[in-house]
């Protein structure tokens, strides 16, 4: 077995068109960010099945999860999935909007094992709960910390970290 990087030669435009067609009605606002990234939006409820299909795509599979970032846009959260395809040597950035009132997203740990700690970090820092995650504990902060510091409305009080 050998992994060849960039073995499938497709222009970024063609690739974006193919992804948009394959996931019509699911991945929306598909755009291109030079030199090698496709950016798209996805509805929260469709995340898991779409992620599974992205991972299993024939020929141009997004087989690696590069990172997950959680961003607080005050009105809502966003969970950003940065995927990498070894075959085409391109990236796909999927933005998933998460409502503030119910910050719950389905986990993608079972699809990309690399998601594990990123989801824990997003939970720790931003308070987005990844449903179905096997071990959703805090990762960088202490186990008994109260609150999620990267939220824009977080206020740091001594009561939040009693044992520090």
């Amino acid at each position: 077995m050998g992994i060849e990087i960039g073995s499938v030669r497709l222009s970024l435009d063609d690739l974006a068109a193919r992804v948009a067609q394959e996931f019509a009605g699911e991945l929306t606002d598909v755009s291109i960010q030079e030199p090698d990234t496709i950016v798209a939006r996805l509805e929260c409820s469709k995340l898991h099945p779409v992620a599974r299909r992205l991972h299993d795509l024939a020929e141009i599979a997004y087989d690696s999860l590069n990172w997950i970032a959680a961003v607080d846009y005050r009105t809502h959260f966003e969970s950003v999935y940065h995927l990498y395809s070894y075959a085409t040597n391109t990236y796909l950035e999927v933005h998933v909007e998460v409502p503030r009132a119910k910050a719950v997203v389905e986990t993608v740990c079972d699809i990309w094992p690399a998601a594990d700690w990123h989801e824990r970090e997003a939970w720790d820092m931003m308070g987005i709960r990844y449903e179905g995650h096997p071990d959703l504990r805090r990762i960088l902060l202490k186990d008994d910390w109260i609150g999620h510091p990267l939220r824009k409305d977080y206020v740091d009080l001594a009561e939040n970290h009693p044992n520090v």
Binding site: M1, N66, W67, A69, V71, W112, P113, W117, R137
Partner: protein
């Protein structure tokens, strides 16, 4: 360990490890043929432990000498690097990335500066680009020297001899970096559109002089370890990372290349002047501890070749776009950008969201060590505890980057 201790200290990782042992015993897995109980021991390695190269803590479940389960615990060096970005202007934040992966400060700074430049549409001068490559590659050599040196110190046969040889030679690189930037580790050297200072007089000659002597040093390292039977026995075939693991866990850098995956951002996502430079990717075949050691040794030689080419092509001109005067404010247009840089440990990326103000709205690091560490439970389980130390040393973790 007594239950009282576990109850008074909030320690979820320890609780988890103990519950797994208890669960296995209840299910009958912990007993042998005669029904005798084979006790499993939960051992806490770190955060203060010499072989963890920082403050990594591993909660290890042992059956005799064999590792049955590993739970890594991190966060002891968390310094809120991402939150700090939201309270500082883009310029004020430049020294902070140095302190994430502190062994390769130049590379980390470059990662951050490159992202902001892309966000704000700034094109650095040509001379600055070449200087950046020189600094990053010098720092890569210095970083690999630390990585290989401390790794060999973890393996008993060489004691600490090798690590001192390597630190001795690393000093010379730090002297060069100090002469250029004014600091030995926390450089604060990169600026948007260039670098802070031009190279001082005589620097190029000094650098050439060092590179002249460098192959001999590498030869010395190789002759020290590669003929050592104990070293080879402890490295060959241990801690194999398959290519599928590389894909699944998004492993990058020398650890991926040791498994034969030709992923190197200098090639796959070229930036700066790397497309013009001639260098080889060093690939391993087995993905074991030895390959991870060897790839780093070979990469140092390639870095030397890159620096020599850069010194030859170093153009004249300014090292900074425009003038560097107060109030040092830039306001990138709203948007989000991710760029990454091939750090000595892998893909070091920065994702910045801008809202059009003087401060980053959100900054996120993609740290290679944080991601490479995720494979530890899978990698260490089934090995002897002494091998686990060798394997974790070969992964070259820097906790400053992991915890941020």
């Amino acid at each position: 360990m007594s239950d009282e201790f576990v109850d008074t200290v909030p320690d979820e990782a320890l609780r988890l490890a103990l519950s797994r042992v208890a669960g296995a015993t209840a299910a009958g897995e912990g007993s042998d043929m005669q029904g005798l109980r084979l006790d499993e021991v939960v051992l806490n390695m770190g955060p203060q432990h010499p072989s963890t190269h920082g403050v990594l803590r591993l909660v290890v479940t042992l059956d005799g000498e064999m590792v049955k389960d590993v739970i890594p615990v991190i966060g002891y060096l968390h310094r809120c690097k991402e939150k700090l970005a939201e309270k500082r202007t883009y310029y004020q934040y430049i020294p902070i990335p140095d302190r994430t992966e502190y062994v390769a400060g130049m590379n980390c700074e470059w990662g951050y500066v490159m992202t902001v430049e892309k966000l704000a549409g700034i094109q650095p001068t040509r001379r600055a680009e070449v200087i950046r490559v020189i600094m990053a590659e010098l720092n890569r050599i210095a970083s690999h020297l630390v990585a290989v040196g401390t790794f060999t110190a973890d393996l008993a046969p060489l004691g600490t001899a090798m690590v001192f040889y390597m630190f001795r030679d690393r000093e010379q690189i730090l002297d060069l970096l100090e002469a250029a930037s004014g600091a030995r580790m926390m450089f604060n050297y990169f600026r948007f559109g260039g670098v802070r200072y031009d190279l001082p007089d005589g620097w190029v000659e000094k650098c050439r002089d060092f590179l002249e002597r460098f192959p001999k040093m590498v030869q010395e390292y190789e002759s020290l370890v590669e003929t050592n039977a104990i070293f080879l026995q402890r490295c060959l075939g241990k801690g194999v990372i398959s290519q599928q693991d590389v894909v699944d866990y998004a492993i990058t850098g020398p650890n991926a290349r040791a498994s034969g995956v030709a992923h190197d951002l200098r090639r796959t996502r070229p930036y700066s002047v790397y497309p013009e430079l001639d260098f080889d990717l060093c690939l391993g075949r087995h993905g074991d501890v030895y390959d991870r050691y060897k790839v780093r040794i070979e990469e140092m030689k390639q870095s030397r070749a890159i620096i020599l080419q850069c010194l030859d092509m170093l153009p004249k001109g300014p090292v900074q776009v425009g003038s560097l005067k107060p109030p040092y404010v830039i306001t990138p247009p709203p948007g989000a950008v991710y760029t990454a840089q091939e750090n000595p440990r892998g893909e070091y990326g920065t994702y910045i969201v801008s809202d059009g103000s003087r401060y980053p709205y959100r900054l996120k690091y993609r740290d290679p060590c944080f991601i490479n560490l995720q494979i530890f439970p899978k990698l260490l389980t089934g090995n002897k505890i002494a091998d686990a130390v060798a394997i974790s040393g070969s992964m070259d973790l820097v906790l400053g980057g992991i915890d941020r």
